[in-house]
Amino acid sequence: MARYFGRKLLIYALTFVLAVTINWLIPRFMPGDPVRSMVARAGLQTPEGVAAMREYYSNLFGFDVPVWQQYLNFWAGLFRGDLGVSLWAFPQPVSEIILAAVPYTLGLLIPAILLSYWAGNKFGAYAARKKVLDNTVLPIWYVLTATPYMWLAILLAWALGKVAGIFPVGRSFSASLVPSWSWTFISDLISHWFLPFLSLFLVAFGGWAIGMRNLIIYELEADYAHYLGALGAPSRLVRRYAYRNAMLPQITGLALQLGVIVGGAVVTEIVFDYRGLGYLVLESIKTSDFFLLQGIFLFIVIGVLVANFIIDIVYVLVDPRTRTGMGGGAA
């Protein structure tokens, strides 16, 4: 088991190093000059101002020292929690802006991921090998999983928000309210949260349900299932064993899907003007605020790595083979 976690942690450490390196490399070696484009965006009139700004940014990127030292400095800055200063919300440091937005994104993502995973697996397992149900719901699931996150978000915002007027659209809470622990504020928060949550939930739900249905069908064809059936075990029991076995690939599937779901959350937030990381991504791209964008990138990577590690722990708890060192779930 130590070996299993050791390998996993090594992979995550390498991924983190790769992510930081990408973050360092791209602004420096991409065609075009990010400093010049940032200076140009500022629209300064006087040449002195332009020169001063150029120098300021060149210093920020640390262009005046050798390349290897730039790289080390970059890491040192990272460990001090220094991600640079945002241009979009000028004197505020990037890390502060991101930390203020993260709770909103997590508040959308965690319930959407957990609930869709739970409901999708249950429902998918239930529909497998039930002819009528399978034929009616399977096409719906395929449509759901093929729907781009943002389009479903736009549809929901339009149909339930604008046309039916049941839910408010835009921002994480009404602009007229101040965050507080009052009932008005919390109900307002929830009504703004519901539609983005629903669109994330629905798309992810379709995927899990299809995956589980297919896995159950596959497991029910396995020798152990036929053997149990031949022994006269009730089909409920057989299905329960099948479900347990089918759960393992689904857990790995969850780890693989995390990046996609996070991407979905980013665009969903953009559609709903929800003030989480997605909103920051949009604003940072609009204003060419590369420090902010790179900070968000690192945060997403760290978040996905942490989630992956949690899933690994769950896998060990669920699959006894990993504990006895028989190598189940080896990566």
């Binding site: 943002m150 995956g211 996905v304």
Partner: protein, 317 residues
């Protein structure tokens, strides 16, 4: 006759685009030597599979629209041609935008971009994944260790976040560039799946025989190993296509779409930016999303159909 064992169940090779797809569609009864009768058999079942035929028909219809459509509309889909904010009518089939651009013209041009991103992205990712997967699985040993490590590292990296950073720093972006960067980062799950299958195939008698007869490695891989998973590789391309299209649409909506030209995702981006939702201009944002959903959905359903064609266990007689 050779059969492919399903990959190790703990290595869910195919949990790919639709999460947790069943373990790789195996190809019982696909003979490598006598390929022709098997192919005829597959064709027989393919033509009778409603999912496959239906999905293919939808995809081909959209492909035809993407190829032919742009010939009948204005060359510049972004040109201001008509009165602003018109609902669909005889002249403007899908209405016009707030600025009087023809939505139908944008739609057919965007459809072309979507197919381009899907095909190029899938080809790049598919080839990369196959090269890594075959090499790792066939060579084994240290090569395998290193390649598997690289695969796993890229696999954990959230693709969209990486694409976001790269695209943001590209001053000029077009559909082809988008397709290339998407392809360069979506290969790992393919490599993993191909490696797992190659691993189980490489110790078979027919591979040993090929080795004994002195065939070079490349020929063993292409003529002995790859044909045994041809159906699976075909399905991999379908899933990669769907994935690339969805990634491209996501990037477009974030505002990192092509800087010249139009795509379906960019249409959604524009519609959102100029609050088509608030203005009730449904003809601006419904068609592009519907087209993406229909094309990707049709591909997924084709995939299910193919699975049934190649895997006799799933065939409905």
């Amino acid at each position: 006759m050779t059969t492919v064992n399903p990959a190790d169940p703990t290595e869910p090779a195919a949990s790919s685009m639709p999460p947790g797809e069943p373990p790789p569609a195996t190809v019982p009864g696909v003979a490598t030597v006598h390929g022709v009768p098997v192919r005829r058999e597959a064709l027989y079942f393919a033509r009778r599979n409603k999912k496959l035929v239906g999905g293919l028909a939808v995809v081909l219809a959209f492909l035809a629209l993407a190829l032919v459509g742009p010939l009948f509309v204005a060359d510049d889909p972004l040109a201001y041609v008509g009165p602003p904010a018109q609902p669909p009518s005889g002249t403007y089939w899908l209405g016009t935008t707030t600025f009087g651009q023809d939505v139908f013209a944008q739609f057919v041009h965007g459809l072309r971009a979507t197919f381009l991103v899907g095909i190029v992205g899938a080809l790049i990712a598919g080839v990369l994944g196959m090269v890594v997967g075959f090499t790792a699985g066939y060579r084994g040993g240290a090569v395998d260790e290193i390649l598997t490590m690289v695969t796993n590292v890229v696999l954990v990296l959230p693709v969209l976040a990486v694409l976001m950073i790269i695209a943001a720093y590209l001053q000029v972006r077009n559909v082809a560039v988008q397709a290339v960067i998407i392809g360069l980062f979506s290969w790992p799950w393919v490599a993993r799946a191909v490696r797992a299958q190659t691993f189980s195939l490489r110790s078979r008698e027919f591979v040993d025989l090929a080795k004994l007869s002195g065939a070079p490695v490349r020929r063993i891989i292409f003529t002995e190993i790859a044909p045994n998973m041809a159906s699976y590789l075909f399905m991999v391309f379908i899933l990669l296509f769907g994935g690339a299209v969805l990634f491209a649409a996501t990037l477009d909506v974030i505002g990192l779409g092509p800087t010249d030209g139009i795509s379906l995702g960019l249409m959604l981006n524009h519609a959102k930016q100029w609050s088509a939702m608030n203005l009730g201009m449904w003809w601006w944002f419904i068609p592009p999303g519907l087209a993406i959903t229909t094309v990707v959905g049709a591909f997924y359903i084709m995939n299910v159909g193919l699975d049934e064609v190649f895997n006799p266990k799933l065939r409905e007689m």
